[in-house]
Symmetry: C2
Subunit: 220 residues, 2 copies
DNA sequence: TTTTTATTTTAGGCAAGTCTAAATTTTATA
DNA sequence: TATAAAATTTAGACTTGCCTAAAATAAAAA
């Protein structure tokens, strides 16, 4: 069985919204994520439901069936492997790869993905620190991690991921030279606006709450 | 300006049929190539003509405008670069790459193709010996070459391409161990059925007319 | 040159995926 | 609990790319 790009994108969206909402996803949330109108969502979820890729009860939102989830996860695998390829082999920056991976993720060929995975030495995380599901759908777990936002004074850690992969945010991090692997230490916490002063290498940087709550670190 | 997959495939088909027919391409030839009905072709060529990608006169066939040709050539460039990637880096056999490249050729990103080209060390020919157009549309010329079919007794040469890239043909060549780069010598020519006996390495192989007229060699 | 055949185009229709406007159902608020 | 607001679905329409059947045109044969 093979699915259309639209179907795959719907399943992927349902998957990733579902992770946050506890599996059940509303029509409006999907419409926002997919930048379409709610009525279009209703049309499509009827089709996906007819194909048993999602469970749907009128007015009550949708959730993925196990088949639907399998497909969603495999598209996410494709997406993240391609992102690794673009950054590791084709010299792209981490803020340039998402849109291209959105296209590449829909290329149909099992062998292609298997060989790509091997070619890249079976990476476990993508350029944004997101886990790459294995062929059989298992998401590698990151070691115990925290958000910069919730660190205490004096805590140290290494950046292992971001919670926001929007171009603008990634470019901002690039600009202040905070990328995956960088070590940081919390020097000050300003409780009135939740900003933090951190040390990274020899530099001291102030991070707003907006920023610090989107950076994932491994304590060290 | 960006084009749909269908539009790109039509332009590519018009280009490659045109090379053989002297640019003008008939509705039926296109229908056959694209495996659609003639009426569908008429529909699409009206659209392509309205976009000034082809010249079209009712009942008289179509030809590419310079814009149309530019697009067709750039899709061919994508296709062939991806084929090189699949064979050279992902361990695919030359008979396995065409269908995947048919998908990959439509990925939209100039930077992707530029970087891929560099990553592959700017190859001039694809795994089937077909020339890869440069970024500005120039097709590398193969050095003086001949078809095995038209060699004379005693002639020697190296395989530099095939005129038929169909899976079955490529697999057959694989099986008799004739791939790009192999040296051959013509030992006998059987005029009654135009088959030839050739020597390749230590082995002697008989090639039917069907086969020998689809192998391109550089004399040596 | 007329007739037959092959090619191409037109007419009308269908599925996918989207939209706007209107109707329905659910949820929140008074 | 009644009413207002928000969320969702339905109705009807549009575009893209394809189809079948029929009509029009061009090419080949008689
Ligand atoms: Mn991404
Ligand atoms: Mn990512
Ligand atoms: Mn090919
Ligand atoms: Mn090729």
């Amino acid at each position: 069985m093979s699915y259309t790009k639209a179907e795959e994108n719907y399943l992927k969206a349902i998957y990733s919204i579902g992770v946050k909402t506890g599996d059940i996803v509303s029509t409006n949330d999907l419409a926002q994520r997919l930048e379409t109108k709610a009525s279009s969502i209703t049309d499509m979820i009827k089709k996906l439901s007819a194909k048993d890729l999602i469970s749907y009860e009128k007015y009550k939102g949708v959730s993925l069936t196990s088949t639907g989830k399998k497909i969603a996860v495999s598209i996410i695998r494709n997406h993240r492997l391609w992102e690794v390829f673009l950054v590791e082999r084709l010299n792209f920056k981490w803020d340039e790869v998402h849109e291209i991976a959105e296209q590449l993720e829909h290329i149909k060929s099992d062998k292609l993905i298997d060989n790509l995975d091997d070619f890249l030495d079976n990476p476990k995380f993508d350029p944004h620190g997101d886990p790459i599901p294995s062929k059989d759908g298992i998401m590698p777990k990151r070691e115990e991690s925290a958000i910069v936002n919730e660190l205490s004074l004096g805590d140290e850690g290494m950046i292992v991921g971001v919670k926001n992969s929007k171009k603008e945010f990634l470019q901002y991090l690039e600009e202040i030279q905070l990328n995956l692997g960088k070590k940081i230490e919390v020097l000050k916490i300003f409780s009135f606006d939740n900003s933090v002063l951190i040390k990274s290498g020899e530099r001291e940087i102030t991070l707003s709450d907006q920023v610090s709550k989107n950076i994932i670190v491994k304590r060290s």
